[in-house]
């Protein structure tokens, strides 16, 4: 589904952040990326989503047979790519309900489907609200504005569930969640798993991976994947940290 080859990414001022990254994620699989702070995890997620200012200087990303880098952010979204942000953005003045209906309809229209009217939309959103245990009243508030950390993360999962993307990147969706919220998010992701949907889960902790069991775990260090393993690697990292891997590198 996703194939990243020898990816090099620089940000403003020619600072290279991603330094030759290779990663292949087949359809239906869940891959986890772990790694120290500042190793380039969020940068990778932004490059996948198409954020301006991140320059790909070398390498390629192929998504469902097409050149992902040739698409802009909204085309990628409409092609089924979704990023749950590490820090969801507050948008004062844009009501969450309008926002959710607009993005659902934008994607429907891009697929040649008809738009949902408010009642049809409401029916759909009510289901999903239950899934992530958010109150319908949050539809009346501005997007993420004044939401607690956990509510923001759940609003991300809510959008993911509404949009039903094929490829989901979750950037530390588990950070800042209490134990119950973690279970809710884990359960939400689990509910979306399927043979045609893949996940890239960026996390610092093993606990989300209890709910969303990964097929593979990768360690990102200084812009490269330095080690890959199965789900047991996450447990090992939790116990031993990253030092032993970094030392083995040098």
């Amino acid at each position: 589904m996703l194939e990243i080859k020898d990816l090099h990414v620089s940000v403003a001022g020619d600072t290279e952040i991603i330094k030759g990254l290779n990663l292949t994620i087949p359809a239906g699989e869940v891959h986890a990326i772990m790694g120290p702070n500042g190793s380039g995890k969020s940068t990778l997620s932004y490059v996948l989503a198409g954020r301006a200012g991140y320059e790909v200087t070398q390498g390629s990303i192929t998504y469902m047979g097409q050149d992902l880098l040739a698409l802009d952010a909204s085309e990628r979204a409409n092609a089924g790519l979704f990023l749950a942000f590490q820090y969801p953005v507050e948008i004062p003045g844009v009501q969450n309900g309008y926002f959710l209906r607009s993005i659902v309809n934008a994607q429907r229209v891009s697929r040649g489907e008809s738009e949902l009217n408010p009642v049809q939309f409401m029916k759909q959103v009510k289901e999903v609200l239950k899934l992530v245990k958010l109150e319908p009243n949050m539809l009346k508030r501005s997007v993420n504005e004044g939401f607690s950390g956990g509510e923001k993360k759940r609003n991300e999962i809510l959008q993911m569930a509404l949009l039903e993307p094929s490829f989901c990147v979750l950037d530390e969706t588990d950070s800042g969640l209490d134990i119950d919220a973690l279970r809710i998010v884990g359960h939400g992701v689990d509910a979306l798993k399927g043979p045609e949907r893949s996940f890239l889960v960026i996390t610092h902790y093993q606990r989300l991976l209890d709910h969303v069991v990964p097929d593979k775990v990768h360690v990102l260090q200084d812009g490269r994947i330095i080690h890959s393993g199965d789900k047991s690697l996450a447990l090992e990292l939790e116990e031993r940290g990253y030092e032993w891997l970094i030392e083995a590198q040098s």
Binding site: A52, S74, R76, L83, Q95, Y98, F99, P118, K140
Partner: protein, 442 residues
């Protein structure tokens, strides 16, 4: 852009055909004075007009459509609400028309004031309206549509000038809502609107005033200049609430001069001004706190695309005796292109220390992160831009009751963004979430 600027000289010399009744108000000496006053390079005037350069409609002559296009007010039939033509008042003695001496004296004073725009206006005006609401009369609603139309083909190449004026006099505890629209009929000719609106509010009266200015014409092909002056004098415990929309023109100046003259007077001034193309939009406010315990609020929002320019000058004068004054001023500006520019100039002149003044003036761009966030959800660049600018103006838009005005704001935004009207809107359509959430909709 010399083409679209106005030259005082041109305005003063060509086609000056004021209504005979109005011409009498200005004697030759005063007229000469007006010319001198308007053309003088007086330093104070130069400062006040620093950002609106009025030079040269080239040699294109003006075609004064005021007489033809004189809008007639439509208003609710309320006894105690009277509407007069200025020409009638000026030719007959006031007592014959039923107008009180007080009201007439106020009107005459306004008509002969030495304010530059007033002088200029008087030279071109053909007529205008006086509205009087008697003590305790409420429920009045009056609307004027000043639409410049280009009916006469023989005048097609000329700049069509319209110079309307409206003077409203409210008695004690009277209430009135006034709406003025400024625009054109969509044909292709350049326009110049010179408008005056003045309000006198007696004690405990309340006036709600909405003014909307937009151009339906292609700003690229024709020139649209809008120069207007709004003044209000507010007595004890009276309230003046204004919403001003300047939604599109090449050159626009709104002069707003509000005096809180007696204790307990209040004013709430809300404005939205948009610029596109090479427009220059000048909002020039003077607010005078002349008495104790008065409250004022100015909230003006500006958004500018292409290489347009917005200027906000908010002068707040708090007189020595005006203790316990509350004056808030808020002027956020949104810059939508690299070449667009916004200037904000809060000017507080406070002559006593029992004053609570707040001001927040900002110039900023759309939040890149928010734009990216919206796009990662599948909205196009245009949709995302539209959502965020709509959010920016939402505060003003939310206060509009008339759906035609809401549409006008939305269209104005599209022009500002350089977008076509069919781009999807986010957050613009009205949905009753309460009902939807509780499942009461069909």
């Amino acid at each position: 852009m010399s083409q679209r600027d106005v030259q005082w000289g041109t305005l003063l010399e060509s086609n000056i055909t004021p209504h005979p009744a109005l011409a009498e108000l200005l004697n030759p000496q005063q007229r000469a004075q007006a010319v001198t006053s308007l053309t003088a390079r007086d330093s104070q005037r130069a400062e006040a007009w620093r950002y609106t350069r009025l030079k040269g409609f080239n040699d294109r002559s003006l075609y004064n459509v005021s007489a033809l296009a004189q809008a007639t007010p439509s208003y609710t039939d309320v006894s105690g609400l009277s509407v007069y033509r200025i020409s009638d008042l000026a030719t007959r003695s006031a007592h014959l028309t039923g107008l009180t001496a007080e009201a007439w004296s106020w009107v005459s004073q306004q008509l002969t004031s030495q304010e530059p725009l007033q002088l200029l206006h008087t030279l071109h005006a053909s007529d205008g309206w006086v509205v009087v609401v008697e003590d305790d009369v409420q429920g009045g609603d009056l609307e004027l549509r000043h639409i410049i139309s280009s009916g006469d083909q023989t005048q097609a190449g000329k700049v069509h000038l319209n110079a309307p004026q409206l003077w409203v006099y409210l008695g004690d505890r009277a209430q009135l809502k006034v709406t003025e629209h400024f625009g054109d009929d969509g044909e292709s000719c350049s326009t110049l609107a010179l408008s005056l609106s003045g309000f006198s509010l007696a004690q405990k009266s309340q006036l709600t005033y909405v003014r909307a200015q937009q151009s339906s014409r292609d700003l690229k092909k024709t020139d649209h200049v809008h120069l207007s002056r709004v003044s209000a004098q507010i007595a004890a415990d009276a309230s003046f609430k204004m919403t001003s929309l300047n939604l599109g023109s090449d050159l626009c100046r709104l002069e707003l001069d509000v005096s809180l003259e007696e204790s307990g007077a209040e004013t709430d001034l809300l404005g939205l001004y948009l610029g596109s193309g090479s427009a220059s939009i000048d909002q020039h406010l003077t607010l005078r706190h002349l008495a104790p315990q008065c409250v004022s609020s100015q909230r003006f929002k500006g958004a500018f695309g292409d290489h347009s320019k917005g200027i906000f000058t908010g002068r707040v004068i708090v007189a020595p005796g005006a203790h316990t004054t509350t004056a808030d001023q808020y002027n956020p500006n949104l810059i939508l292109s690299e070449r667009a520019k916004a200037i904000t100039r809060p000017q507080l002149e406070i002559y006593n220390d029992q004053v609570e003044c707040s001001h927040g003036a900002t110039v900023g761009q759309l939040d890149e992160e928010a734009l990216f966030y919206l796009k990662t959800r599948g909205l196009s660049e245009a949709e995302a831009l539209r959502a965020l600018t709509a959010a920016f103006v939402g505060e003003v838009r939310a206060e509009l009751e008339d759906s035609a005005l809401i549409n006008a704001v939305d269209l104005g935004l599209l022009t500002t963004l350089g977008l076509e009207p069919h781009e999807r809107s986010v957050g613009e359509e009205w949905i009753d979430w309460e009902q939807l959430i509780s499942g009461e909709l069909p």
